[in-house]
């Protein structure tokens, strides 16, 4: 990109209106061009005035609590030591869709970590804890489903990516299995290319396996009605 071309693009960049490839090319140019940096800085000041001109709304206290809570619970960079944590964090970074657990007729022992507050902090704490264990589910379904859990903390999460369409009016439902007794921990409603996460809080020592089956949507079933399409045994919990 020539300097003149960059010059033309800066206003569009300052209001986030460029095509992605134009924006990337401009960023590269600006990195090495003092004059364009100054121009961009000046136009960002102007754009900031467009923001400041909007009517000002007081943010809810919950926003403050969440933002500060997440900062406090988060150690900063460098905490990722395991490869699975690295991919999970990468997935989390590209805006995962956090899906609350549907309240199907579940065993009471399994409660959801529904508090929106600090959910991300919990996720990261779980992913980076040295006592967390992880298993990858395998079976006939397409996609990748991992289960990460910390037996001591009684917290776990199911991370599902790339699951195909379960079929009309169907959902994927996730079960923890104790002996022959499956307990639902919720349903996964994957969008195209999205990563879906379910939080689980329970005493994992009671369970030997985790499985996913296809069930009628949107709420799932009280007990599995089909054979599992994915499953894994849980390590070190018996």
């Amino acid at each position: 990109m020539t300097h003149e071309e960059a010059r033309e693009l800066i206003p569009g960049y300052a209001v986030d209106a460029l095509a992605p490839e134009e924006a990337r090319a401009l960023e590269e140019h600006v990195e090495g061009c003092e004059a364009c940096r100054r121009e961009l800085a000046a136009l960002r000041d102007t754009a900031a005035e467009l923001a400041a001109g909007l009517s000002q709304v007081a943010p809810p206290d919950t926003l403050r609590a969440r933002a500060l809570g997440a900062a406090r619970s988060r150690p900063g960079r460098g905490a990722v030591r395991r490869p699975w944590a690295a991919w999970a964090l990468a997935a989390a970074a590209i805006l995962i869709v956090l899906v609350g657990i549907q309240d199907v007729t579940l065993q009471r022992q399994i409660t959801l970590l529904d508090s929106q507050v600090n959910r991300e902090g919990q996720l990261l704490a779980l992913l980076t804890s040295p006592s967390s264990k992880t298993v990858e589910l395998s079976g006939t379904a397409r996609g990748s489903v991992h289960f990460v859990f910390n037996p001591g903390a009684h917290e776990g999460l199911v991370i599902a990516g790339g699951l195909g369409n379960p079929g009309p009016r169907s959902v994927y439902q996730v079960w923890l299995i104790s002996g022959a007794m499956p307990s639902s921990i919720g349903v996964l409603s994957p969008g195209k290319g999205q990563t879906t996460i379910l939080f689980v809080r329970t005493d994992f020592r009671r369970y030997q396996a985790i499985a996913v089956s296809v069930e009628p949507g949107p709420a799932g079933s009280p007990a599995p009605t089909t054979k599992p399409v994915l499953s894994a045994t849980l390590p070190g919990t018996s």
């Binding site: 960002r44 400041a52 001109g53």
Partner: protein
């Protein structure tokens, strides 16, 4: 920690402290910019839940590493924070637009609404006047881009103007806006 409590730390200093993971500095920064960031997201998304998510994302991004990436050669901290907020809001608007693409019967009427609505909602008299002084095509291009989250290509498609024309209008509009605001009283601090 008490010794560090310097309420007068400027924004740049706060960002430096945040880069060192200083939670107190982060709290101060939030208290300065939580309102403006949330208000921008509200103005663009018109949905308090979505706006909260965007605002939270902005601040967590700052905490997580953006503060380290801050470069004062690229503008003052306030403009930079608001540009982060704008960027995230635009992403959210576009994501939502893609999701609702099936019920797409948007017409030019929507554009007029976005422009009129955005201008009506402006409280800052300075900005309102400066925008009002632009040629209508320039104003439309700028408002659709900044408040509506449309790309130049989308604005060209929606207004029927050639892409090059839209780029020129946006550029001239923003430059004129800058000149008007600078002539008025120069860049403001929060």
């Amino acid at each position: 920690m008490a010794g560090e409590r310097a309420p007068q730390d400027d924004d740049g200093t706060l960002l430096e402290r945040i880069a060192q993971l200083d939670v107190d500095a982060f709290e101060m920064l939030y208290d300065r910019y939580g309102g403006p960031v949330y208000s921008l997201a509200c103005g663009m998304l018109r949905d308090v839940q979505a706006a909260q998510e965007v605002a939270q994302d902005v601040f967590l991004g700052i905490w997580r590493g953006a503060a380290r990436a801050f470069d004062d050669r690229r503008g003052n901290p306030r403009s930079w924070i608001l540009s982060l907020a704008h960027h995230k809001s635009v992403d959210a608007v576009r994501r939502r637009r893609r999701q609702t693409v099936s019920q797409l019967d948007e017409t030019m009427a929507d554009d007029v609404d976005i422009v009129a609505d955005a201008i009506r909602k402006l409280e800052g008299e300075r900005v309102q006047q400066a925008l009002g002084a632009l040629a209508v095509e320039q104003r439309t291009a700028l408002v659709l881009a900044y408040y509506g989250g449309y790309t130049q290509r989308e604005i060209a498609d929606r207004t029927g103007a050639p892409l090059g024309t839209v780029k020129t209008r946006m550029r001239d509009g923003l430059l004129r806006l800058r000149a008007a605001l600078e002539a008025d009283q120069g860049p403001r601090t929060p």
